[in-house]
């Protein structure tokens, strides 16, 4: 399934590819959380978004992510955007002050446009951060990173390694299931199913002829895999060693200092330069 390429791990040799996945995950989550803070004025909001946009642009250039890939990820959002714009225009939030013009009796506020723009920029920046993370980190590394963060939960007997194994198997099987979908679709197509045309009823029947065999084979596959793992001595609660040991290098140190520095600056700014604002995480 070549359609799944966007956001998939890309084998390249960049600064980000060589970073510790745990640090990458931490950096991304920190940046996204900070991205969603609110500011009292539009001016500050857009300066803030500009800074985050700049960061993501630099990261995209370093990671050599293709802008086309990003664009293809963003395009499906255009529908959401139009919807959002309409909502914002017709139902302006309280406290809107900047009247732009009126259509008949309907006042159009500049705030509505800014609000939509803010959400759009936030989404685009967030998507570019996630794209950089998934392109530069293999799914295995990512699950290792998750596992590492979940380690404290072992204290309350949470099966961390089992969850991590489940996650990595699930990720590993996405392309396989994709191939399976193609195969079943072809088989049904040659039996006269048309997946692209026909009314609702016909299409839903076509989908059933795809879904049922897909689920059955997925269950069979999982059963086989479970048996094969057991046959080769898999014990979910055994202590695991790792083939690749995650090491902390100078790159990680640089990245860690950068993100901690940014975080400190952000906190200082919130405390000293800005009045506290009630709503932190609203869109």
């Amino acid at each position: 399934m070549n359609d799944f390429v966007f956001g998939r791990f890309q084998k390249r040799d960049t600064f980000f590819h060589r970073l510790d996945p745990r640090l990458k995950l931490f950096t991304m989550i920190t940046l996204i959380v900070l991205l969603f803070f609110n500011y009292p004025t539009w001016q500050e909001t857009f300066i803030g978004l500009g800074i985050f946009g700049g960061i993501s642009l630099i990261a995209i250039l370093i990671n050599r992510t293709s802008f086309l890939a990003l664009l293809k990820m963003i395009l499906p959002l255009s529908f959401l955007l139009i919807f959002l714009l309409l909502i914002n225009v017709f139902f302006p939030t309280s406290g809107t002050t900047m009247l732009w013009f009126t259509i008949g009796d309907l006042p159009i506020y500049l705030d509505s446009i800014f609000q939509t723009l803010k959400v759009l920029l936030r989404l685009v920046i967030m998507l570019s951060f996630t794209l950089i993370l998934t392109e530069s980190t293999s799914s295995i590394d990512l699950t290792h990173a998750f596992e590492w963060y979940l380690t404290p939960l072992k204290l309350i007997k949470f099966p961390v390694s089992v969850v991590a194994m489940t996650m990595s198997i699930a990720l590993r099987f996405i392309p396989t299931i994709g191939d399976e979908i193609t195969r079943i679709m072809k088989a049904q197509t040659s039996r006269g199913v048309d997946f692209n045309r026909g009314g609702l009823l016909k299409r839903s029947r076509a989908i059933i002829s795809l879904i049922v065999p897909l689920f059955i084979s997925a269950f069979e596959r999982s059963e086989e895999l479970a048996l094969a793992m057991e046959a080769r001595g898999y014990d979910p609660y055994a202590k695991r060693t790792r083939y690749q040991i995650m090491k902390f290098t100078w790159r990680d140190l640089v990245m860690l200092l950068l993100i901690l520095g940014f975080l400190t600056l952000f906190i200082l700014y919130r405390i000293y330069w800005m009045l506290p604002v009630g709503a932190f995480f609203t869109m």
Binding site: R183, I184, G192, P213, I216
Partner: protein, 277 residues
Amino acid sequence: MGIALDHVFFTYGKRKQAFLALDDLSLTIPIGVTTALIGATGSGKTTLIQLLNGLFKPSSGTVEVLDYIFTKKAKYKKLSLLRRKVGLLFQFSENQLFEDSIIKDVMFGPLNFKYKKDVARKMAEDALKIVGLDESYYDRSPFTLSGGEKRRVALAGVLAIEPEIIILDEPTSSLDLEGQKMIRELLSTFKNLGKTVIVVTHDYKLVLASCDEVIKLQHGKLAFQCRKDKFFTLLDEQELPDYYKLKRLLTKKEINLPYQELSSNEIITVMRKAKHE
């Protein structure tokens, strides 16, 4: 009107990840006989048969199937007509079953091709009869069947649409001896009916017993195309199944065994007869 490929290229993927599956392939598959398509995995066999069913279009060159001519740019609105004429049984076809009863699953094809319900049922019943599944199976769930029986149901699903050309992708793989025998018998039924059959297979026993023509692909190119008896002489001694080793040995002594594999008792009879003559 037949099946012909003319300088066909086919590539999977684009640019760096491109994989050339068919490389300037030209051949004609005869109508009314059974043709075996052999070759190592990755030689382009499955790609070729998917071209014949209109599932793919060639990257360049022309593919002619009955009255359809496929080129890179050809556009057909109604491919369903071709798919009714060219029945394709996929490898591991048992994975395509999805209805809650066997008869419904076999009727699925005819109904898609707009046959009325009672006609479709009749077609399904006939097809199930050909593959040797009787009435007691009709209302059973296909998921309760054994692997070999599932394969039969899938095959019936293809036969039910009464195709002019039948393409089978490795029909004997992972079947037990009984299942393999069923496939060989089916192939001879098709032969008697004068159907055009294309069988993709690694099973030389099947080729020697049931096919007339042999096409071998290698790295997406035509390695050779010949009649079965010629193929029989082309094979190395170690590639031959035991029966055919014996046949080759006896041919030198001017005793001719048929291609259809005989039981040991029958072989003894043939040899005794030869001795008397």
